[in-house]
Amino acid sequence: MTESIIKIENMNKWFGDFQVLKDINLEVERNKKIVVCGPSGSGKSTLIRCINRLEEHQRGSIVVDGTELNENTKNIEQIRAEVGMVFQQFNLFPHLSILDNCTLAPIWVKKMPKKQAQELAMEQLEKVQISDQAQKFPGQLSGGQQQRCAIARALCMQPKIMLFDEPTSALDPEMIKEVLDAMVNLAKGGMTMIVVTHEMGFAKEVADEVIFMDEGMIVEKADTKEFFANPKNERTKLFLSQIL
């Protein structure tokens, strides 16, 4: 029985007067893949941004790999080094080459020697099949290539958990497949992943659990097969009928 690597209990978050997350309870075990879906504004992105503390929660507790996240967390950077994140807008650093993008954090955060960092980076770039572009700059690559680089960059920190915030929403349709392939490979390799996405095909193929959120609450949480075959909640059924 593997222990939970992420444990969220009664988490609530407000933006000013507006409550975006209501009583979230979630447990994620190691090596599990979770897909979070729901309409826009439901708080899915905010939820995963709370996990690496890009957003702060006001009530409840979040424990990541044994460390609780609150304002007394001394070394938030160490936590973040264990949790990788891939953004919708890629957010690659345009002034650095792809290789430098990937080696930046290992050199400056993990204090790795440059050569070792470069070898690690090339390894990760190989995994997402983009190692031939290592010397190019982000501005010279297509959207799909950039997102794969972003995945490689996050992987270079050898995180225990990978968070994906709508990774394919900003891509042209023909590029979505290459990014999803990279994510499927990653999943098969055993990484713990939490993915916010609308790509239900991906969810069916890879996810262990699917969570549906609406208006800040977790409406339904079930194993993948159960979720798609027997959605229990009305809202879930409505949502699935709209996107499938």
């Binding site: 953004f87 650093f93 955060v109 050569k115 501005g139």
Partner: protein, 453 residues
Amino acid sequence: MKFRILSYLFFFIGCLDLLVKILYGNIFSDFTEDYYEIANPILVFTPVLFFSIGGVFLKESKVNMSIENFGTSRLKYYSPQFICLAVVVLIFLFFTFNAQINMENRGIDFGFSFLNQEASFDMQFSLMDYDGQDPYWWAYVVALLNTLLVAVLGIIFCTIIGVIIGIARLSPNFLIRNSAAWYVEFFRNIPLLLQIFFWYYAALRALPLPQDATPLFGVTYLTIKGYYMPAFIWNNLNIFIYSLMAALIAIIFVRYYAIKLRDTEGKQLPVFYISIILLIFLPLLAFLFGGVSLIFELPVLKQLSATSFIYDGGIAVPPELIALTLALSLYTATFVAECVRAGIQGISKGQKEAAASLGLTPNQVLKLVIMPQALRIIIPPTTNQYLNLTKNSSLAAAIAYPDLVLVFAGTALMQTGRAIEIVSITMLTYLSISLAIAALMNWYNKMIEIKEK
């Protein structure tokens, strides 16, 4: 292909021209003396002209804009150019011709020999030794140094103020943000000339007389006649300079070693703190063991007459310099602030988030991700503002600060009457500064360009 041949032809003619002039002097002098002496300098410039034309043809040959690519008839291609050049040449000839006649009628001749004559005026303020017996060309150099002094001081201050205001404009604090915005709107919309006048004639006139001044920091006095500071009198200044240079070299080595260490073993040295320690420690050694000593010559109140006092000794910063620097800095800082704000705002929030999500500390995010990108946006327009500041420093003529324009194109011109030579030299000086900085900026931009598709 044709252009390249033409360019080589012109280069060749230019070299011939130069050679002939160097070896035989102006072989046309008999010819031109009958006409007008002004032809002399024109003949001197002809090699330059030939080389430039050759250069133009060379560039054009590389661009490959030959007539074949232009796609129209020969007439349409060559005649506008011919007309254009003919008009330009005709205008120049017209001016030259008139100038020659006018100068002959007034008995003025053209030449630069006046530069060696004694300039018989004094300058209130100069960085180097100058008195009325020095030649005009020395007056030019000293005045140029004065201009550069104002420009450099102005650039330093306007950068500091501009960066602070620019960052303040983005503060989440309502009061700070609006105060900065009002600063920018206020100082930007009042003409620079009026600001200079205000500081010089209104604000600085409100300062106390020397005898009534209360000391700032104990030894400096801000008075209506200027800002008096203690002068540094060094003993063995060169040893101090060597110690500074040694500290700088040591810092360079430390940085180099730190980068190597980081690359090979990943360990990081606190380079910043080490540099500070070196900068303090080595000069300190110079003081203790190198025989360097520093005495301050304090300004002392001296009575010139029954009601007039002045401070003797020390360094006197004239109020003209203070007013000019203050006005230039405050005015240009508004533009620099806007450049800085545009630079920082141009970096999307996602960059900061991505860097933070990789585990970089806020300082590392700033140093490695934000600043490199922001500086690329900030530096080109800011350099433009520095150039504007340098050109605006010529307004010193309005309050009698002895800068290049006032001394050379003002006093010297009135004394010698050599309008064309003097104004040309002045304009060429500013033009050279502008072009040099613009060329530097182009080179810098090419170097740091972020590559795109």
